[in-house]
Symmetry: C2
């Protein structure tokens, strides 16, 4: 028996092979201990990998009995340091990746019930094999898990049409902080029999319960998907183009991404082989539009070309290309998805994942750009994002001739404050889709009302009074 009584219990629960510790100094747990962006190096007491809901419940119960906190983890692709242990060596990482079964597929109900550790992309593929669409898509889909998507209410590129992860979830199974199992796995579109526990656990970042399974809403596969790239003269025109597209293309509009010229120039510079369409270089902003049509490709093409023609006539766009093939469409999306990587190639930068009312975006961008340029001459703005959802990745790159590391060290906090203060002034959110985690927990009180924080703290205290689950994340412990 292991000398540490909790670890001995965890081994009894999950089996020797699935409880990893630092007993052997050669054991490398860094994949579970360090975060995706390498901003944090944690140290765990143990990493435990249960295979069933009952095992998860037993693990939480054992940890609670030993006053040891539990950090639930899926694919560990989060961006706000929310699913890795602190550096005390006292926290248990509860990895859900072995719980990766699709429990039940119900095509006539357009649902599937899946375990938390399923990789998002494998679920997209599973749905596709039934002729159905799981409309959640994001950069990390090849390694993130659906449990993590739910715990953080992930966004992505199809929110405009299908909503955030919470909007795709009809039911949940959750292990509470006391190690009880709540079986809320319904496949119902309507259920008004109590407080919406589902929405409370979704997006709570593992601080209220551990999501072990979910019933997800699927959609029929569209008959055709088309992508276009349009040059717009300014952000106000981009917002008007969105309105035009929403009216004329209605819910066939499944993507509406904006990309600033400097962001595209970085892709051009660092990934020259991607061949950006010429129009990028002569316009301050490009918009990537995607439509998904239930009828046919020819119908979709007529719809999209008509809408773009109307936009051209109205002066909202100056030029556009519609992808001729799936390969060309994929190439356009690849450009969009390469912006964060190109930015990393260019050097260190300050990232912001903000949202605003769509109507406020032109003024926000104009005023915040000007303020930043004023405070930090030569600063470069890598601005792109899900304009259809009002979600910008409004990132700040050091001046070209500056020492980027020094700039970050000296200016990151002040840049954040300047940007976030402006976000708040325009009625926005300082975290649109990435969440709070450890990274923003201390920043939150500046932007969230005392009443809201107090309600959150009361809920945390009601469901997890001993702070067993992911303590200090989302809410600073009081």
């Amino acid at each position: 028996m292991h000398k540490h009584p909790l670890i001995a219990e965890l081994i009894t629960i999950a089996g020797q092979a699935h409880v990893l510790t630092h007993d052997d100094p050669a054991t490398d747990l860094s994949a579970w201990e360090n975060d995706w962006r390498k901003r944090h190096q944690g140290r765990a007491l143990a990493v435990v990998r249960p295979a069933s809901t009952a095992q998860v419940a037993a693990v939480v119960k054992a940890c609670a009995a030993h006053h040891t906190s539990v950090v639930a983890q899926g694919g560990n692709t989060g961006l706000v340091v929310g699913s890795v242990p602190d550096n005390t060596g006292q926290q248990v990482v509860l990895s859900l990746t072995r719980m990766n079964r699709v429990r039940f597929t119900d095509p006539a109900n357009l649902t599937m019930t899946v375990e938390a550790g399923c990789i998002l992309q494998s679920l997209q593929e599973h749905a596709a094999r039934h002729g159905l669409l799981l409309p959640l898509s994001l950069a990390a889909e090849g390694s993130c898990t659906i449990g993590g998507n739910l715990a953080t209410n992930a966004g992505g590129t199809q929110v405009l049409r299908y909503g955030n992860t919470r909007d795709l979830c009809l039911g949940l199974e959750v292990v509470t902080a006391q190690g009880e199992v709540w079986d809320g796995l319904t496949g119902l579109r309507k259920d008004n029999t109590g407080y919406d526990l589902r929405h409370l656990f979704i997006g709570s970042e593992g601080t209220l319960g551990v999501i072990t399974a979910a019933t997800l809403k699927l959609a029929p596969q569209p008959a055709a998907t088309l992508t276009a790239l349009a040059a717009v003269p300014d952000m106000a025109s981009a917002v008007q183009l969105l309105q035009l597209a929403q009216t004329q293309l209605a819910s066939t509009l499944t993507g509406f991404e904006v990309m600033g010229r400097f962001a595209l120039s970085l892709v051009h510079r660092h990934y020259a082989h991607l061949h950006l369409p010429d129009l990028w270089a002569t316009t301050p902003w490009c918009v990537l539009l995607e439509i998904s049509d239930a009828e046919s490709e020819s119908h979709a093409r007529t719809m999209l070309e008509t809408a773009l023609g109307n936009a051209l006539e109205a002066g909202l766009i100056t030029d556009a290309v519609v992808a001729d093939s799936l390969a060309q469409a994929a190439a356009l999306w690849h450009i969009r998805e390469s912006i964060p990587l190109a930015q990393a190639q260019e050097g260190l930068n300050v990232k912001h994942d903000i949202s605003l009312p769509v109507s406020a975006i032109p003024a926000f961008v104009q005023e915040t750009d000007a303020l930043l340029a004023d405070h930090y001459p030569g600063i470069r703005l890598v601005n792109f994002g899900h304009l259809g959802d009002g979600n910008l990745h409004y990132n700040v790159q050091a001046p070209a001739d500056a020492d980027a590391a020094a700039f970050l060290r000296d200016a990151e906090h002040a840049v954040n404050t300047l940007v976030f203060d402006n976000v708040q002034r325009f009625g926005g959110s300082i975290s649109a889709e990435h969440g709070v985690g450890s990274l923003k927990a201390a920043t939150l009180p500046r932007y969230k009302s005392a009443v809201a924080l107090d309600l959150m703290a009361r809920i945390k205290h009601a469901l997890d009074p001993a702070h067993t689950l992911n303590p200090g994340r989302m809410l600073v412990r009081r």
Copy 2:
């Protein structure tokens, strides 16, 4: 000054004219004290009608200080006795109807911010004046308020496409049980900065906070709306027709209602002037389909007729009519909406508002019909509802030759138990869209897990430990 100190305070807060009491025995408060279906006669200490959020907060604070409970009320059209006072004469009814301003309309963001007391229909009209659609529609829309819709997470006829009320709400303003104001009125599609307080208050039936305003999501008005009535040979075909329609019509499908022959026969008998299309009499089930198209009426007609043609070929329908005019479409909807009234004309009945996974509905209906017929020979089933959402109004009418009042007195509880037990066996909900209120609070523990009820009780205790807000509703007080 009024001799009752709380009433004196309420008068100071809201003004003499807006605090109604039984001081004068001639005062009739029954509009606020009795419920919509006349199943309950309450007696209030006072009805107070504040005009602002600050007044609502002051009212709640005063009531809490006097250990007096507060029952929030909108249009008082609820069906589960959730917004009327008990009969002790000790509760204060907080009527929100004077808070009826549209605070802000933001067409470019597709949102409007409105006060809780706005009548739903007036908000539909307000949105329409901006060329926009508030896609929430239900029978009581001429008198229900948006605050009540939010507090009960109302459903209706467009849920299939646009979701329940909670899915149409981006932000909330709420007065807490302590009389604090939470200003969560954002117009954001994405905001991951904490627990989803909005979804917790929505559907909590005034037991956790008083909703005073909301930011609602709007949609562009469709270019054309078309309605059809189709005869289907059995419920399994109706479910397959839904799948076909969802695939071929995608999100243009905005309505999918099922109506049993007996339900339609009551409309035929009691409202002969409504002229049911002939097909109703020769088929066990009719389906009412509605599509809303962004292109044109001719495009919509081609889409709908093609889909119905495919369904006919596949044997899923035996006949169909597509409305030729808006008047004809309205007439078809009028038939659907007349079922509850025709049923009331026929006599007393036992109503159920249940939901099931769509795939389970054929077997549920077959087995439950058979069980009821077995236990109660001659019983008549008025079955209709929002099949697209898995929501049936599965109502039970006494045998034609029975004394309906006696039947209800003797059998209502047993009929409920039989139906609800079967609902649970098929993974359904005993309240799809009407809620819990007082009517189902005592029934809930039979169908909701102890873990879920415990989580709900913890949340209630955390946010309203003194049980100031709508005590005994939703959760039986422990």
